[in-house]
């Protein structure tokens, strides 16, 4: 059942990225362009996501276990270290350079766009290199 849920949640997430247009780098760069022609739309994507996920998380984390799994797996790392800051700076710079973050990048594979395919391959190389450092 976990597998079916995973596929289903991926589909819902992917459709969300399409409807919100977060899949389009031009839209994302418009959101980051606050000092010139600003498109505030993506703030609404975040608000929309958070008003669903926040109450659900706090309501259900107190339960013994998830419906189809033996326990909840919630990140425990609370350290505010250099890795967090340097990683976020690198990510922010790459995001601002192209307008793609991991979710939209992978989702855009469906559109057979050569540029996003190159980005995704390079991103996976980045994942691999980080796994060797961490």
């Amino acid at each position: 059942m976990n597998k079916v849920i995973s596929l289903l949640c991926g589909i819902i997430f992917g459709i969300g990225l399409v409807i919100s247009e977060m899949i389009n780098p031009e839209k994302v760069l418009g959101f980051l362009n606050i000092f010139r022609d600003w498109d505030p739309s993506l703030a609404f994507v975040m608000i929309g996501a958070l008003i669903v996920s926040t109450p659900i998380f706090h309501l259900f984390k107190k339960k013994n276990k998830p419906v189809f799994s033996s326990n909840f797996s919630i990140p425990t790392n609370k350290e505010l270290d250099k890795k967090l800051i340097i990683g976020s700076i690198l990510f922010g710079a790459g995001w601002g350079l192209i307008g793609l973050c991991p979710g939209p990048a992978i989702t855009s594979i469906a559109l057979f766009n050569m540029s996003s395919a190159i980005f995704v391959i390079s991103m996976f190389i980045g994942f691999y290199l980080a796994s060797k450092v961490n």
Partner: protein, 139 residues
């Protein structure tokens, strides 16, 4: 500053669907969604590999199913050069794993948990993204 191309209704609708996906994944499978984590774990870890793979397949099926139901074409525009795509992709991949999350893992799942780490990460990558767009716009 001018406000342009503002689409609050579709942005909010898409956001609600993303929130629904995060909520369902937590209630049913017990995990918090972070796309960079799911994708990199699929690559480097045997844990939950099939689930992670199927989630990524779902992401890619999303636009195809949307297109099938709505009949609407999905257009995206990427104007970056080859070398920038390679550098940008590597920075996003390496950076998100170094900091332990991306727009979804820190920005949505982490902030939902009120995680200070995620709040700091989100403010940092947003500010650096804004700064990057400002600089590349001037160059």
């Amino acid at each position: 500053m001018n406000i342009v191309n503002f689409t609050p209704v579709t942005a909010l609708t898409g956001g609600l669907l993303i929130g629904l996906s995060v909520a369902l994944f937590f209630i049913l499978n017990g995990r918090m969604i972070g796309i960079s984590g799911i994708a990199s774990n699929f690559l480097v870890s045997k844990n939950n590999r099939i689930e992670n793979f199927l989630f990524l397949v779902g992401l890619i099926l999303g636009p195809l199913i949307y297109n099938l139901i709505s009949g609407k074409e999905i257009n995206i525009s990427i104007s970056s050069s080859l070398i920038l795509l390679i550098i940008g992709g590597a920075m996003v991949g390496f950076g998100t794993r170094l900091s332990g999350g991306c727009t979804s893992g820190h920005g949505i799942s982490g902030i939902s948990r009120f995680s200070l780490r995620s709040i700091i990460a989100t403010i940092t990558f947003m500010l650096v993204g804004i700064l990057t767009v400002l600089i590349t716009g001037i160059l």
